[in-house]
């Protein structure tokens, strides 16, 4: 009476896979392809999507200003990512060597500010960086800037506030790996003649490389599409790709153009990612 076990196993697999898979197919993959398709539709002057097919959007994407914006998006995102990694490695190291009690306490302390709303946290920085606020006064008093200098609305402010926002996303995966790291290895390296700094870089950092990669992804990718932080604390010359997409969508009403730019971003992010993801899956299998 029992069904063929291979077929039965296959059925169980499908039963487990189908719900999430179909959901993501409908609400993730399908819409993404829809965006790709829309980039080949003509735009109408009324902000709609026209009939037929065209390569107009592709032509418009050769806008001479775009390479600059793309370059800025890349370097700002990289700067944010590198800063986050540089800060999270020592903190993760410290946390991993704390007693269990302190670990829990410190982790909670790290998480709590991030349970307040994202927009509110970004706006709090506007108060700190106010041109007549205390930070500016201190800097001016120290002679570092002329009084009344605008600290906001430039790329530096965007990087600072983004690091603030994304640091936990780097810290937590790095810590998760560091916590499992066997610190006896470092001591062994030092017994073999490494000094503390060498041991740190040759043993600890490679030991947590997986966490570093996860952190890189979790910080870099969202920042490539960032538009809220540059919009609030960035100025007129720090727009990123995300800002341009939103502008095409909500002020020029050129949907195909917005879709075209979105597709560029998708392709930029996804092609390398799919390779990485599949590679990781294969490695896990072994």
């Amino acid at each position: 009476m029992k069904a063929d076990p291979v077929r039965r196993e296959r059925l169980v697999e499908v039963f487990l896979t189908a719900p999430g898979f179909v959901w993501l197919l409908l609400f993730f993959l399908l819409p993404t392809f829809n965006v790709l398709l829309i980039s080949f539709r003509p735009s109408t002057l009324t902000g709609g999507i026209g009939e037929g097919w065209t390569l107009d959007t592709l032509q418009q994407l050769r806008n001479p200003d775009y390479p600059g914006i793309l370059f800025r998006t890349l370097w700002v995102s990289l700067a944010i990512t590198v800063s986050c990694l540089l800060l999270s490695v020592p903190v993760a190291y410290f946390l991993a060597r704390c007693s269990q009690r302190w670990k829990t306490r410190l982790l909670l302390l790290i998480m709590i500010p991030f349970l307040t709303n994202f927009i509110i946290r970004v706006f709090a920085w506007k108060v700190i960086l106010h041109p007549e606020g205390w930070l500016a006064s201190v800097l001016a008093f120290a002679g570092l800037i002329p009084p009344g200098t605008q600290l906001l609305y430039n790329v530096r402010a965007v990087i600072l506030v983004s690091v603030y926002t994304y640091l936990p996303f780097a810290l937590l995966p790095v810590y998760a790996v560091a916590e499992k790291f066997d610190f006896a290895l470092m001591e062994a390296a030092m017994d073999l003649g490494c000094n503390r700094i060498q041991a740190f870089f040759r043993v600890f950092v490679p030991g947590i490389s997986r966490g570093l990669w996860t952190a890189t992804l979790l910080v870099l990718i969202p920042n490539l599409g960032a538009y809220v932080v540059p919009d609030i604390v960035g100025g007129h010359s720090s727009s990123m790709l995300g800002n341009v997409i939103v502008r095409r969508l909500f002020s020029d009403r050129n949907l195909p153009h917005a879709a075209g730019l979105s597709s560029v971003l998708t392709v930029l992010v996804l092609l390398p990612m799919i390779v990485v993801i599949l590679h990781r899956r294969r490695r896990e299998a072994h």
Binding site: G47, G235, F250
Partner: protein, 345 residues
Amino acid sequence: MKFRLLNLAAALMLILGFTACGSRKPVLRIYNWAEYLSDEVIEAFEKEFNCRVIVDVFDSNEAMYAKLKAGGGGYDIVVPSSYQVVRMAREGMLLELDHSQLPNLVHLDPIAVKFTQDPEHRYSVPYLITSAVIGYRADRMDTGPDSWAVFADASLRGRMTLLNDQRETLGAALKFLGFSLNTVNPEEINAARDLLIEWKANLAKFESEQFKNGLMSAEFLVVHGYSSDLLQAMEEDENISIALPKEGLSIALDDLVILADAPNPQLAHAFINFMHRPEVAAENMEWVMAMSPNLPAYALLDDAFKADERIFFSEEIFAKSETIFDLGENDQLYINAWNEVKTAP
């Protein structure tokens, strides 16, 4: 323990959920500029018509239009500027108004017709008249600005903003250059574009939402903003002043319109009619600090309010000012110029 907490949270949310959908009164949904409708007026309307009013806000005609086009329907009343009404009507987004439900239209001041491209009120009823002016911190400047030229002042670098609005901001530059802000001459538009790119170096940013708060916190010292917002700011903070640039300004009429797919057109008509009851119009005017073109309402206003030429513009200001009109296909000229301004390094 964790599950206990979760249960507690779930119970809490259910209660909240029920209270949120408890009332079953008819709902009027309004899509408006921020702080552009008196809270007391809303309450009075809700009480009289036994309904609930929900107000969402936008910060530019373009953003509002894009959100509606992107399927953000569901609103009854929208408050576009008159030039945007033309476009929306052309695209069949607006309901043709039933004048039999709007007896208060008789109160309209004929002056409003000057600012609209829909003088018959087929789709729109004039709501408020405002202008885009310069607001500044009188306590940080020796002399207040009297011209759009203030945006060329490098000593205020990083402490000034212009509106993030293609027609208003290109319009300010066009006025400064002595051109019409409805010009379709590409050379004039390009000259305005180049001027804005020069001014841009002195700006903190293009800003349509935070110019008021930024000015009040002294983050910005000079801003380009809507007169109603800046007058509201002046009421709260004596250090703020307003300048009407000598080259002239853009005066805008914002209209009440009903969307073609409005869920509740009857209530929407009632609302438009309600807003033109003289006592309601007067109260709303004093709250928003803008002029409602409603003749009998003028008599109900404070004398000082009526004498304020930043609200009731003088003949002289009217003479040198203009209203932004819809330019049809030529809008593309402005879209392109504005994009170049925004992406210029």
